[in-house]
């Protein structure tokens, strides 16, 4: 086997330029695959992290039906039991009770639909970043009545800065219209134009009063120490609360557009991978066929001295394995370095900020490689190399020895 391995390795380097060109093409393709995987991973991670940290949290306790129909009627009164269960779970880092409903923000010049978020000013700072990421002013204090936080984009759109007055309107519990006048205390900027423009924060107590909710809320948003525990915590909470009027959902169920984006990207990237693998397959078949064509006489000699068809196929497959090993090592090294560099630097897409905001994408993406993707790229490259070298190997093994020996040596 050692001699066969040596023969296979040295056969590759009979025409170094051809082998190097093939290896470069395969490695470059692998770099492309790894980088695109890393880019998508980085984008998705960023998307999830932004959404979770800005507002969503990891787990939410909602009134039954609120997730599909977020109206004021789908609200609930947080019981002592809920609060004690949350307090007793060490996986829970923090939580905040909120009211979140659609409403109208009015100024003398504008009327815009926004999500009115009533929250506990202190707990909100522990759970999410929106009220901390202030471009101007200060966060809600709770001590001063009638304060509101606007997003930067909304503030610019309605041309209302710090200290200016806006009016909120929304349907109360019971069907009446509730209104409230607020003065802009702070302007947040979470780096996501859609969120900045579509959400306003007021204190929970004032939202409950305006909406005639009493002590009712629409959600408890929970931040965990580890995002990977989201499903486990949600399952445990649902079991322990055992309340048919409540839903416990994770960020995955809330951020459906992330799942859809993932599915879409999967389909898109597999088309890309298929093209790459096909190009790789052609390269391998072409190189091996030319190489075998050049060695026809020698193959005849090998058969003449007693080499079986099986061993001859093994020799060609070993050559293909070596090509795959070198291409994978080079591709992983170059791809890893490229991803590492861009992860550190970040890919600045702010030139496309307007379009990115539509998809809730961050303006700076940091590519991330995960072991599963690296494995699948490696396995893909190896599989394609072996699979598509079977044809040249089979053709070599079917050569008629005497005809092969007649070819010029």
């Amino acid at each position: 086997m050692k001699t066969l391995l040596k023969m296979a390795w040295l056969n590759l380097w009979r025409n170094p330029r051809r082998t190097v060109i093939l290896l470069c093409a395969m490695a470059a393709g692998l770099v492309g695959i790894l980088f695109s995987m890393a880019f998508v991973n980085g984008w998705i991670r960023q998307l999830v992290a932004d959404s979770v940290n800005t507002y969503e949290g990891h787990v939410k306790i909602l009134a039954k039906g609120y997730n599909d129909n977020p109206v004021i009627e789908n609200s609930f009164e947080p019981s002592e039991r809920i609060l004690s269960v949350l307090a007793g779970d060490p996986r829970v880092k923090s939580w905040v009770a909120r009211v979140a409903v659609q409403g109208l923000l009015s100024t003398p010049e504008h009327s815009l639909v926004v999500t009115i978020i009533g929250t506990d000013p202190v707990r909100e700072l522990e759970v999410s970043t929106a009220c901390r990421m202030l471009a101007a002013g200060h966060s809600l204090s709770g001590a001063v009545q009638g304060e509101i936080l606007l997003g930067k984009d909304l503030s610019e759109k309605i041309k209302k800065g710090l200290g200016k007055k806006v009016v909120l309107m929304s349907q109360q519990l019971g069907g009446e219209i509730g209104t409230g006048a607020f003065r802009v205390a702070g302007i947040f900027d979470v780096g996501n134009g859609a969120f900045n423009e579509g959400n306003v924060y007021v204190t929970l107590a004032e939202a409950q009063q305006m909406l005639n909710l009493g002590q009712r809320i629409t959600e408890i948003t929970i931040l965990l120490h580890d995002i990977e525990q989201s499903e486990a915590v949600a399952g445990d909470l649902a079991a322990r609360l055992d309340d048919p009027d409540l839903d416990v959902v994770t960020w995955r169920q809330r951020l459906l557009y992330v799942s859809e984006s993932l599915k879409m990207m999967d389909q898109y990237t597999w088309i890309y991978y298929a093209i790459f693998y096909l190009a790789m397959a052609f390269g391998i078949v072409n190189t091996l066929m030319i190489s075998i064509g050049e060695r026809t006489h020698e193959i005849g000699v090998l058969m003449a001295v007693g080499m079986t068809r099986g061993r001859l196929m093994l020799l060609i497959l070993l050559e293909s394995c070596f090509i795959a090993v070198v291409a994978v090592v080079a591709g992983l090294a170059a791809g890893g370095a490229l991803v590492g560099w861009y992860h550190a630097q970040g890919i600045d897409l702010s030139a496309f900020a307007e379009g990115l905001d539509l998809f809730g994408m961050a303006h700076v993406i940091r590519p991330v490689l995960v072991s599963g993707d690296v494995m699948s790229a490696m396995v893909g490259t190896f599989s394609i190399s072996i699979l598509f070298s079977l044809l040249p190997a089979w053709r070599a093994s079917r050569l008629v020895p005497v005809a092969a020996l007649r070819q010029a040596g």
């Binding site: 050692k2 001699t3 066969l4 040596k6 023969m7 040295l10 056969n11 009979r14 006489h297 020698e298 000699v301 090998l302 058969m303 003449a304 001295v305 007693g306 080499m307 079986t308 068809r309 061993r311 020895p401 005497v402 020996l405 040596g409």
Partner: protein, 231 residues
Amino acid sequence: MTIVEAKGLVKDYREGRTDVHALRGVDLQIGEGEFIAVAGPSGSGKTTLLNIVSGLDSATAGEVRVDGEEISGMRCADLSRLRLHKIGFVFQSYNLIPVLTARENVEFTMLLQGVPAGERRRRAMELLGRVGLQGLENRRPPTLSGGQQQRVAVARAIVTRPRLVLADEPTANLDSETGAKLLDLMRELNRAENMTFVFSTHDPMVMDYSRRLIRLHDGLVASDERRPASA
């Protein structure tokens, strides 16, 4: 004991639009330990005969037995096994594997036979010494002279101690002095190991060395002449 027995060997093939009758009914018996030259002009059927005897090519009609085994109609894998274990080849253009060293070339057939690495190495080194290539064991074929390459090829052919060594014009690319040394070597092996050698050749020197000279003409045995052992 008979090593090769051919009866009524016929080989026809087409070359372009021409029908070629390479062998027209050759009968032949080769005994163990013979040292035979098969001579004849180009196109007389020498190489075709060797190819059929070795199972590299098949006859259109007739029978061939090698060491008692009928090889006409043998499966490809069985023919490979037969060549590996019973036949050694020496080619006109050496046909060594260029990426392997002299020693590895000699070891190659033993590798295919499954001989353990230590034993392979020992036998290859011993034989390379015997053919006068001490110190050149780790050289690759392109760095060796024609005569040296052909000696490696001879070592490769006989290292597994085959019953039959077929040599297709082994001296054609060598000068007469180198050719004579190579023939001396093969004669010595023939005597010492009782190995059977069959050469196809145009070379009068090879014919002089042989103890049996078979002349082919137009695909038929024109003469079969045995010579005294001292020739």
